[in-house]
């Protein structure tokens, strides 16, 4: 399967071939008649071989491609695809962008799974039930390929997650029968993987060369052969990709992101970012939301935590202060977030939850209005009636007289 000696790259790798900014959540059907020159994508992508035969060269290692082969390529994989002589390779390609995969990653034991996943092969020939499930998932994805409404997007995200889980499962099974050993792979492959894996650490060429028992010159040469880049370029690219994967999370400041990705100073981060992406991090953040194809938005998990807390506790006597204490978020941050993200405030949301519950109780029970107001979290019947009147344009008893008949 894996050759000991890496196949050198022909030409400089290009990016944006399969993972352009207008290809989010979009299944592409690609026909390879001859070959696709080296590609270095900034996002991960799934490739499923529908028909035809050929080769996939990843970081200098060549894998056979035949119908039913399922690949998941990462940003640290520099790859090229060749079709066999006089054959056409028909591929289904879909990008699984890193911000989305970060959003869908749970549990702290994922790091262990990631290690197993990153140290195994990126191509698996599928058979039987697994092949059927992958094909079924891709068919379902294709059915809503051109729709970009929220519902279709959720379906597509769920399918991508399921494809990733299938791949994790394949890797897990493979890693049991083929334990990882650095010697098994060409040096360039192991180096590239090592640098991407630990790019957020304080990596210097000498340490990495010592880890592998080679000189710095060999380190750079081997990296150039397989990835077309030297140590510093490979490391910077990996760090900037890591930074980009966190850009869609609005809570993460640039200051936090640069130190997270292993940069020592903010200036170095800004300079490297601009060199590689051709724009500042601020511009990148704005552009990552305003995409041409599928609409995206920033992820703000704190707002969801706030809403969840209010949704679960609106019947209790909660206040902005008590919520801030429970969630360990300052009152000012809560105020600002609700205003910026939802254009509303704490009291408005709380009152609307309470009034909805009270409306339901008025319609389906014969409880006294005082009891309803207390059960819905209001302090007094008077406050409840005033707010109810303002919202519905009628008193609670008038509302009950109008709607209760249907329920009983």
């Amino acid at each position: 399967m894996a050759a000991k000696k890496a196949k050198p790259l022909c030409g400089k790798p290009t990016s944006g071939v399969f993972c352009a900014t207008d290809q989010y959540l979009r299944l592409q059907y690609i026909t390879v008649r001859d070959s696709i020159p080296p590609v270095a994508e900034d996002n991960s992508l799934f490739i499923y071989v529908q028909s035809g035969r050929g080769y996939l060269s990843v970081n200098g290692v060549v894998f056979d491609l035949r119908p039913g082969c399922f690949c998941w390529l990462q940003s640290y994989h520099i790859f090229s695809i060749d079709a066999l002589w006089e054959q056409e390779l028909h591929l289904a390609v879909v990008m699984y962008d890193y911000p989305l995969s970060n959003y869908m990653t749970f549990h702290n034991d994922t790091a262990q799974g990631l290690r197993a996943f990153a140290t195994t092969i990126p191509v698996y020939p599928l058979e039987g039930q697994t092949r059927d499930s992958v094909e079924r998932l891709l068919t379902e994805f294709a059915e809503c390929n051109d729709a970009h409404d929220s519902g279709s997007n959720l379906i597509k995200c769920g399918i991508l997650g399921q494809l990733a889980l299938i791949f994790f499962d394949l890797c897990g099974r493979y890693s049991i029968t083929h334990p990882y050993s650095m010697h098994q792979w060409p040096l360039g492959w192991s180096l590239s993987l090592f640098i991407s894996f630990f790019c957020s650490e304080d990596l210097i060429p000498k340490d990495v060369a010592d880890t592998f028992g080679i000189s710095i010159a060999t380190l750079n040469r081997e990296l150039r052969i397989t990835t077309g880049m030297n140590f510093a370029q490979t490391l910077n690219r990996a760090r900037i990709n890591l930074a980009c994967s966190a850009m869609l999370f609005s809570e993460l400041s640039f200051h936090f992101i640069f130190s997270y990705c292993g940069f020592r100073s903010e200036v170095a981060f800004y300079r490297t970012f601009k060199d590689l992406k051709g724009m500042t991090p601020q511009e990148y953040r704005i552009r990552s939301v305003n995409t041409k194809g599928t609409p995206r938005k920033m992820v703000c998990e704190t707002v969801e935590r706030i809403l969840y807390y209010m949704h679960s506790n609106y019947k209790e006597q909660i206040s902005l202060k008590s919520m801030a204490q429970e969630l360990y978020i300052s009152e000012n941050i809560i105020r600002t977030l609700l205003h910026e993200e939802l254009h509303t405030n704490f009291k408005d949301i709380l009152t609307s939850y309470r009034l909805r519950y009270a409306e339901a109780l008025l319609a389906v029970t014969d409880l006294p209005i005082l009891d309803i107001s207390l059960a819905s979290g209001f302090n007094s019947e008077r406050t409840f009636s005033r707010l109810f009147n303002a919202r519905n344009g009628m008193s609670p008893s008038a509302y009950r007289a109008r709607y209760m008949g249907i329920a009983t």
Partner: protein
């Protein structure tokens, strides 16, 4: 060769992997032969009608039921099921912590709807193919829920199935009047 001395692969994962899914999840099938009085749950309930006929009353609104009716109830949706005589209602239901729904709405590809509590429940009439798809998804979640403890992978799988289920509801839901 030296042993790997680095321990934190893809450092940023530490931040993202703190997302823990709320664990309460229940899914299954039911056959309703007799009227069920008004009930309400503190979690979200997804209900898909697989067969039978009858009516569903949610607070003060009545819905005729048929195969493929799909609803999502919040805690303020008191609902009552009345099957028609001789046509018991067969349904698949899934109860999920509302935190999951709020987490789903944080998805970068989800529009900003769903923040305001809706008075009528989110409701869709699915065509047979999509109803079957939703039914299979609920059955798969039910299969996972039967296990006593879920591994990280199984929990993630449940989340992805729920994403697709909410996706189907969101895609075909009629926008309720305010």
């Amino acid at each position: 060769m030296k042993k790997l001395k680095y321990s934190r692969p893809f450092n940023s994962r530490d931040y993202f992997s703190e997302n823990l899914l709320p664990s309460e999840l229940f899914a299954g099938r039911k056959t309703i032969r007799q009227q069920i009085p008004f009930t309400q749950h503190d979690e979200l309930e997804l209900m898909l009608i697989r067969g039978g006929q009858g009516t569903l009353t949610v607070n003060a609104t009545e819905f005729p039921l048929s195969q493929g009716s799909f609803f999502c109830f919040s805690p303020h949706h008191f609902h009552k099921l009345v099957p028609q005589k001789g046509y018991p209602i067969e349904l698949s239901e899934c109860h999920v912590n509302s935190g999951v729904y709020f987490y789903i709405t944080a998805c970068p590809y989800f529009g900003s709807a769903g923040k305001v509590p809706l008075y009528p429940p989110l409701h869709a009439e699915l065509n047979p193919a999509d109803a079957l798809r939703a039914e299979i998804l609920i059955d798969e979640i039910a299969k996972e829920c039967q296990k006593k403890t879920l591994t990280a992978m199984e929990t993630q799988r449940c989340f992805f199935l729920l994403l697709r289920l909410f996706g189907i509801l969101e895609k075909f839901a009629r926008i309720p009047e305010p």
